[in-house]
């Protein structure tokens, strides 16, 4: 079974989660997540060798509908909550370095 989580792993998970943590938070989360994972591991007492995973409780199947044109939200409504906008666009910092090419 996986070992309990250490600080390096917490930093890696924070990066994957796109959460910038302070050193104090890394320390705190390492302890707390280790305790929670320790508790969660009690699942290993159960033999699940021949058990199917259950992702959804109901016997539902994919829902199809005709691909027809419907009214959409509209530009103004869609942009109304944008932290920054530029005309009809969401404005963000550039994501390519100058000269990085493509």
């Amino acid at each position: 079974m996986a070992e309990k989580i250490d600080e390096a792993q917490v930093r890696k998970v924070a990066k994957l989660s796109r959460l910038e943590l302070t050193d104090a938070e890394v320390g705190e989360f390492t302890g707390q997540l280790s305790a929670i994972l320790g508790y969660v591991e009690k699942m290993n007492e159960l033999d699940t060798e021949n058990v199917e995973p259950l992702a959804h409780c109901l016997p539902i199947s994919n829902v199809f509908r005709p691909d027809s044109v419907k009214e959409s939200l509209g530009t103004e409504k869609a942009l109304a909550n944008a932290p920054q906008r530029d005309g009809d666009f969401f404005k963000v910092p550039k994501i390519l370095d100058v000269g990085s090419g493509a």
């Binding site: 079974m1 996986a2 989580i5 792993q9 917490v10 998970v13 924070a14 990066k15 994957l16 989660s17 796109r18 959460l19 910038e20 943590l21 938070e25 989360f29 707390q32 997540l33 305790a35 929670i36 994972l37 508790y39 969660v40 591991e41 009690k42 699942m43 290993n44 007492e45 159960l46 699940t48 058990v51 199917e52 995973p53 259950l54 992702a55 959804h56 409780c57 109901l58 539902i60 829902v63 509908r65 939200l73 409504k77 869609a78 109304a80 909550n81 944008a82 932290p83 920054q84 969401f90 963000v92 910092p93 550039k94 994501i95």
Partner: protein
């Protein structure tokens, strides 16, 4: 006025004995008086509510048809989108978010002519069991203001208990309707997964989340469920008519269930506080007197529900909350040095600690090398837990057990130990993992005069019978008639 149930108020308004404006003004008078102490609402909308109330009154006077909740002041948990006011999820990341559409349940309330008075406080993104994780304000328990109202729908339950509305909508991912209902001495129903549309409910754990009523009485629960249940083309997981036909939950509510067979799980619930155990035993006696047959059963996998839940719910949350990236809506950090910082700093600045913790836990459980050990394992355990319920319901109409191991705990008592907080959900989580309906109804008080809730669990789509079983108990007792000392 606040002594009336939602249904009684509706009937009086319809009969012209009182007006919706009068009822709505009385609610806002109470909000002015008690809200500074209770803190149930993140926002209220008095002007809009009074306009809606006046419109209902006008139509009733004119003899025009009105909806099932005509004129009744209700509250909505602040994780359901409304085009009026903000929809914050009690998070600073959405503090100024104005939804471009209404949640389906909100549209249904409005179509039924309910008067929405405000958006209720909650644990941030519904992650918590005490409403202490709200990033915006503190809600206290109307029964004892030094205690939590439960969570995550703590604001909604406190508002109903405190007479700050006549009924409310909460959401329940691991007990977030039932546990605060229990702590605040009101009725809370988590319907079958798929019974009520989740469209416009801000997602936490999508395979577990379900919206339901928090009310003063079972008749009110039936009434509100009548309004919000049903298939929604905008939510592909809401069940269609073929799977679960619509029904009038009020119609048969007074009919007792004949030859009622109840299962109890003493081994599983042995860890509950003595006062909770005592209230449960008393409740069992009530059902015995009504002729019910009580049988002790073993549900061997239920003890693993909390472990499985905190993997599955956090895994789903880590994915659902990836949308808060500071780009399209929500908080964005000032002067990021690059686009990665737009994400990582915006999220770090505006998410609270519990939300960060759950995102981290879920991301870890889904990450390479750990997926099989945690996430896949939890899904298999979930199947075993559902199996326990399926077997039980082959023989018994329902299962009864406590809602929570304790009554309302002190503010701050569990905030330093997330695992202890998680364990306050042990009895409620099973229903979410299995997708079945569960209800909390008032069943007694502890030595500190704090309410205790009785949980009744029924098979999927068994709400009609579940409400009747609960109503049998409500008719025999008057726990639901007590009101908090503050009121």
């Amino acid at each position: 006025m606040e002594q009336l149930s939602a249904k009684e108020l509706r009937d009086r308004i319809a009969a012209g004995q009182t007006s919706s404006v009068e009822a709505t003004m009385a609610v806002f008078e109470r909000i002015r008086q008690f809200e500074p102490t209770i803190g149930a609402y993140i926002s209220t909308c008095e002007e809009k509510a009074l306009e809606a109330a006046a419109d209902v009154d006008k139509r009733i006077v004119a003899g025009e048809p009105v909806g099932q909740l005509a004129g009744v002041p209700v509250a909505v948990k602040d994780n359901m989108c409304t085009t009026f006011g903000a929809t914050t999820c009690a998070s600073r990341i959405l503090e100024n978010f104005h939804a471009p559409y209404n949640a389906t349940v909100v549209d249904k309330l409005l179509a039924a002519d309910a008067v929405i008075v405000g958006k209720a406080n909650m644990d941030e993104f519904a992650m918590g069991s005490s409403t202490e994780n709200s990033g915006l304000k503190q809600t206290v328990n109307p029964w004892d203001t030094s205690r939590v109202p439960g969570g995550s729908s703590g604001g909604a339950a406190a508002a109903v208990a405190g007479g700050l509305c006549f009924a409310a909508l909460g959401s329940d991912t691991g007990g977030s309707i039932r546990q605060p209902a229990s702590f605040c001495g009101v009725v809370g129903l988590k319907p079958t997964y798929g019974r009520v549309s989740r469209f416009g409910l801000v997602a936490y754990g999508s395979s577990l989340d379900q919206i339901g009523p928090i009310t003063q009485t079972l008749a009110d629960t039936a009434l509100v469920l009548n309004v919000i249940a049903g298939h929604d083309p905008a939510d592909s997981t809401s069940v269609n008519e073929a799977m679960a036909a619509a029904c009038d939950y009020l119609e048969e509510l007074e009919e007792p269930v004949e030859k009622l067979k109840i299962a109890i799980v003493p081994e599983y619930t042995a860890g509950a506080d003595e006062s909770v155990q005592r209230a449960l035993s008393d409740a069992i006696e009530v059902y015995k007197k009504l002729g019910a047959e009580i049988t002790e059963i073993d549900m061997p996998h239920l003890d693993y529900a909390t472990a499985a839940y905190y993997v599955i719910a956090t895994a789903e949350a880590s994915s659902n909350l990836a949308r808060y990236d500071g780009v399209h809506y929500g908080h964005r950090t000032q002067s990021p040095k690059d686009y990665v910082e737009v994400y990582s700093k915006s999220r770090a600045e505006a998410f609270g600690q519990e939300v960060k913790r759950r995102i981290m836990l879920g991301t870890y459980a889904l990450s390479s090398g750990y997926y099989d050990a945690y996430y896949l394992k939890a899904l298999k355990v979930r199947n075993l837990i559902r199996g326990d319920f399926t077997s039980a319901f082959e023989k018994y109409d329902c299962i009864i057990m406590p809602v929570a191991p304790t009554t309302a705990f002190k503010i701050g008592e569990k905030t330093d130990d997330p695992l202890q907080m998680y364990l306050s959900d042990i009895y409620t989580i099973g229903a979410n993992l299995a997708g079945i309906p569960g209800i909390s109804i008032p069943c007694g008080f502890d030595e500190d005069n704090l309410p205790v809730g009785l949980q009744i669990l029924a098979p999927a789509f068994g709400e009609e019978k579940l409400l009747r079983i609960a109503r049998m108990f409500e008719k025999e007792t008057d726990w639901h008639k007590r009101t908090p000392p503050i009121v």
